[in-house]
């Protein structure tokens, strides 16, 4: 009798990469639903565009690199990148902006470094930051007022805005409403106090509330991933701790010149960054201690950028900056193996 010879171990637990990636996508569902409720169908359209471009470009480059197209395309990693990038964009982003960002994320940030597992930078954030720099107007001015603060757009108006850059009938007014982070930053730079800023109609409760609910929905997805063991608590907790610590310190020092920690945690991309972006394992630090440092660094840098730099939200830059620091963090956080402690 002859038997197949393979090295030990002979059993493994069955949760392969494609399933891990699919679960990340499932975890995004609550956020997509809440986001669409507040900002209309634009997000769905953007996700569809980004996914199509991501899959097509990934397939093309895999062929060029002579890799197994079926095996790699079926790992869903390109879809995750596309979904996260699309989620970070304003809902009326013109199609060519989304296409550019996705192409850059997949081709440059991912495959030019060797594809899945080899990219030093988070591909979605690399794509996003490219767009922030290349299309500053589109990225800053195409936010619409959320339902409750504005009237919301029809699907037709959304499609027209995305594909033909046609302003909705309601006029440009409806679509240039700043996000709360943007508003706070520009108003603070004009020496306004927090109480004056909060009185401003663009800081209307329903606008802040929309971002609060979106962040809560993202966090719910994050907790789902934690419960399923898709991500571990170290990075999300460290990101939140870093941002909260900075915000608390400055808030306690001068509550009138600094938004509250709660405001920081529930606006912009805080929860998306903590649970979905920073936790991208490929570009994060490796050891558990390293991951705490990595996440904490993202939180602190995000606060610094939000407060003193030219961009309203700092998560994307913070993630990319800490990506650069990963090799150094890894170098200094090699855990001592069993039996090598103390002596």
């Amino acid at each position: 009798m002859k038997f197949q010879v393979e090295p030990a171990p002979h059993i493994i637990s069955a949760r392969p990469v494609p399933q891990v990636m699919r679960e990340v996508l499932y975890a995004l569902i609550p956020a997509v639903v809440v986001y669409t409720w507040y900002f209309g169908a634009g997000l769905i359209v953007n996700v569809a565009i980004a996914c199509a471009v991501a899959l097509a470009s990934e397939a093309a480059i895999l062929r060029l690199r002579r890799r197994d197209v079926r095996l790699y395309l079926s790992d869903y990693s390109a879809v995750v990148t596309a979904a996260l990038l699309a989620f970070a964009l304003p809902s009326l982003t013109p199609w060519y902006v989304t296409v550019t960002g996705t192409l850059f994320a997949i081709v440059f940030a991912k495959h030019l470094y060797g594809g899945l597992g080899f990219n030093p930078f988070n591909p979605a954030m690399a794509g996003y930051v490219l767009l922030l720099i290349a299309f500053p107007t589109e990225m800053a001015d195409l936010w619409i007022a959320p339902r409750g603060a504005g009237d919301g757009l029809s699907v037709g108006q959304t499609l027209a805005a995305i594909f033909a850059s046609t302003p909705p009938a309601a006029g440009w007014d409806a679509i240039t409403s700043a996000t709360p982070l943007d508003q706070v930053q520009s108003d603070l730079s004009r020496a306004m106090t927090m109480s004056e800023i909060n009185a401003n109609p663009t800081m209307h409760g329903s606008i802040v509330g929309a971002w609060l609910w979106i962040n809560l929905a993202v966090a719910a997805g994050g907790i789902y991933m934690l419960a399923r063991g898709i991500i571990r608590w170290h990075i999300p907790l460290a990101v939140i701790a870093g941002l909260a610590l900075m915000a608390t310190l400055f808030y306690l020092a001068d509550a009138d010149r600094n938004p509250s920690p709660l405001f920081h945690l529930t606006t912009g991309a805080t929860m998306l960054g903590a649970f979905f972006i920073a936790t991208d394992p490929v570009s994060a630090a490796t050891s558990l201690r390293g991951r705490l440092i990595y996440g904490f660094g993202i939180g602190v840098i995000a606060y610094i950028i939000r407060t003193w730099a030219a961009y309203p939200d700092g998560i994307a830059f913070a993630v990319l900056i800490m990506n650069v620091a990963v090799p150094a963090i890894d170098y200094f956080t090699i855990p001592k193996p069993y039996g090598a402690r103390d002596d």
Partner: protein, 538 residues
Amino acid sequence: MNQDQAKANLLDLDEAPVGDVLTPTRRPSGFYGGLYLPTDKHELAGQPLETAPPPPHVVLPLTQHAGLPAIPCVKPGQRVLRGQQIAVADGFISANIHATTSGTVIAIDEQPVPHPSGLSAPCITIEADGKDEWCELHPVVGDYHTEDPVRVRQRVREAGIVGLGGAVFPTSTKLTARADINVHTLILNGAECDPQISCDEALMRRYATDIIAGARIVLHILQVNRCIIGIEEDKPESEAALRLAVEEFDDDRFEVVRVPAIYPEGSERQLIQALSGREVPSRGLPLDIGFVCLNVATAAAINTAVTTGRPLTERIVSVCGDAIARPANIIARLGTPVSSLVELCGGYTSDVDRLVVGGAMMGFAVGDDNIPVVKACNSILAMTADQGRSSKDIRPCIRCGECARVCPSRLLPQQLYWHAGSHDLEKLERYNIFDCIECGCCDYVCPSNIRLAQHFRFAKAEIAVQDADRERAALARQRYEDRNRRLADAAQDRAARIAAKKRKAAAAADIHKRRKVITDVMTRVRQKEARRDRTETQ
């Protein structure tokens, strides 16, 4: 921790009464990493043990233990009795081998053996005569307590007993005291954590008394007064049996401690940490922190050897896996072909795919079942393709870090994998590859289905080869330099000798010249004086 402190700790532990060695907060503390593996082996362990009949031939490899192969002391054609020594341990880390049935030695040659390489190795083959006659046995008569511990240990050595948990380190060597170390605790390893193997559990359920009796002998050999039996919480029957046995002996040196059923707790390092909260030094042994750890089956074998004089000729083997028709725990004599054990269990099911010697996590697959049961064979695991793991769809590492989370050695397997791929041997050592115990936990959780443990085995071998090469190169360089130095020295010597000779000759010439000058002067003076004398007399 400096050495004095370490010593102080040991003394402290040694003087603590039984039971206090484990502080409450540490009980049961578990250890870093590891896995809860799904298992269905407890039912199998509860079934009656079967005894395999003596096979027509037994094949006994000369290496059934860690260390050097034993040296045969019988000749082909010679009749041997069961229990008769047929090969002698070669040195301190080696073990005797005994005939496991009566019959005739028909060959001493290379035979297929259970080894990951699949290669053959020297074996003694005995044709059984069916009588299964024992040789004359020499038990330790009377009460072993009055016997010199060294003599009792000698009995263990004679009986060819090795660690039956799978590592097969010669037991008497483990029980040899060292002057610089104060052994304070014996640990009995009843933590059989592999998801399939249940030979130890079956043994504990039925032969608990023999295990405790064996442990008492070891306590005498070691002159130690504490024995902790570590048993996993998913084996309540075994635990009850052991507690009952301890009660029967009414021996208060024993303590049965329940530990969480986490793989790889059967590894003595992990078990010691789970029981005591202490870590065995990275490059050291349990002995370095005062522990001696023995598998329960080893303790039972020691009892047999000391009280009946019977050497190690059989062991319990778990024949299990989805591809075995009727899985069972079997008492099999060493040298029995694996195929006949499988037959005893109703043979393979039609969808058998691979045959593993050892556990599903660390055992090695063999290509053929025509191999003998050896001392290390705790399990014969026949798997179906569904049950086993496939090499299909290996994807790139996404550095998810799950491997680092479960690594009981606190390593970073994904970093090791990266450096193993680029053959960066220096980095591999910096990331402590030699602390990898190859338990396979990292493989088990890897979503990319990467064969991490196999990469690490390979990398370790690569480093060993490189080190050997480097050593050889260093030796060669040394020899070359030595030779050059010798030649240079010889040349210098010769030059020095020639120079010395020249100097001597020159000096001799010089003295001669000087003497001549003096003589000339003297002559002149004398002539002068003579002239003056003459003048004066004139």
